[in-house]
């Protein structure tokens, strides 16, 4: 390599080594091809076998839905998710009293074979969930997948635009509606009964479930659940990827507890 190119190559390497964000290039199946030091630093605590082979395997406990998110993306170049928080990767900064840092991930499809991923650390300003919850919700606003929050009382306290589109309700119609009304009678109660103990045990919850959108029969979806505040039984439901849609319509109205029908 000519001296000049060698020098430029070294500068480029140093730039990548010093970049404060984690950068990863991976195949569509998640196999890591290249990564920079910050990416290795963030991911190493998850590499129980001492290897960083596949990004989806590494992040399965934090975000089991990532691989599906990528798999359902058919565009040649697109944003799969942006600044999606990875709660399991909160980092304790070195040194006594140093603030904890949260980690979020962005995934970009570069072409049919390649993904670019960015891991970004930021200081957690407020311990106890509010800051990370806000970040989570901001990220979900832009996701093509559905996001809902269920409160301890079993009502929907937040929904993203994708949820409103998919389920056929306005934000106001979903707000405070019973979560179980999204399922066939009896199913929602069973889902909640199974989900909470799973999350409490530190495991991730993922199921294929059938939901009842407004006037559109049934939609079968891959459903993931993440605890926001498990002591308060507050759960975020994300990534409901349509698996199949069954047409028979049924007259529908979500019940906000007032018994009134929605338009």
């Amino acid at each position: 390599m000519p001296q000049n190119f060698e020098h430029l190559y070294e500068e480029l390497l140093q730039f990548l080594y010093r970049t404060p964000w984690g950068l990863i290039q991976a195949a569509r199946n998640g196999d890591i091809q290249m990564l920079n030091p910050v990416a290795a630093k963030v991911l190493m605590p998850l590499a129980f076998n001492g290897r960083l082979d596949n990004i989806f395997d590494l992040l399965r406990s934090a975000r089991p839905e990532l691989q599906t998110l990528v798999a359902v993306t058919t565009e040649r170049y697109c944003v799969v998710c942006e600044d999606l928080p990875l709660p399991a990767l909160h980092q304790q900064a070195l040194g006594a009293g140093a603030p904890a840092r949260s980690v979020s991930i962005s995934i970009f499809v570069q072409n049919l074979d390649t993904l670019m991923l960015v891991l970004r650390e930021s200081q957690i300003l407020e311990r106890g969930g509010n800051a990370s919850q806000t970040a989570e919700l901001n990220a979900l606003q832009n996701l093509p997948q559905l996001g809902l929050i269920k409160t301890r009382e079993g009502r929907i306290s937040w929904s993203n635009p994708a949820a409103q589109r998919l389920l056929g309700y306005s934000p106001n119609q979903l707000l405070n509606a019973p979560f179980t009304d999204l399922f066939a009678p009896g199913v929602g109660e069973l889902v909640l009964e199974n989900c909470l103990p799973t999350l409490m045990a530190g495991a991730s919850y993922r199921e294929r479930l059938s939901l009842l959108p407004r006037g559109a029969g049934t939609i079968t979806l891959e459903v993931s659940a993440t605890g926001i505040d498990l002591a308060q039984e507050e759960i975020l439901w994300t990534l409901m990827v349509p698996v199949m849609q069954i047409p028979p319509a049924r007259p529908q109205a979500l019940n906000q507890g007032t018994g009134r029908e929605r338009d």
Partner: protein, 126 residues
């Protein structure tokens, strides 16, 4: 010089090596002082990372040279040993990003209260 990565008296032996002897080792060696500023960087490490010593020596190790090790698995162990004034000799499995490729390695962390430099040995995992 035929010092091995696993030599029992690794720290004292390494610290006594001159530059040429350090460059002759078949594993990477990086030494940094109490302020975590890099003081020694051998040829094997240069070949692995693509960075010459003059780009590395004088820089903060955990923030400017090897951010990947700025965590509880490596940096914290050096900090803890220094704070407790205890010797450190620990080998950990790690993945480095030499030239941006994920590379499984073994790291050996060496320090002692009576030696001014702290040493990190790096060897590609078999």
């Amino acid at each position: 010089m035929n010092m091995q990565f696993e030599d029992r008296n690794g720290l004292a032996t390494l610290h006594a090596l001159n530059k040429e002897e350090l460059d002759g080792l078949d594993f990477g060696v990086i030494a940094f002082d109490a302020d975590i500023v890099v003081q020694r960087y051998n040829l094997h490490e240069t070949q692995a990372t693509g960075l010459r010593p003059e780009r590395v020596i004088g820089n903060q190790f955990f923030t400017e040279v090897a951010q990947c090790m700025n965590n509880f698995m490596v940096a914290q162990k050096f900090l803890d040993a220094r704070e407790a004034a205890l010797p450190l000799d620990e080998t950990v499995d790690f993945v480095l990003t030499w030239r941006m490729r994920p590379t499984p390695v073994k790291l050996r962390l060496l320090s002692s209260p009576d030696i001014g430099l702290q040493y990190l040995l790096l060897k590609r995992a078999a």
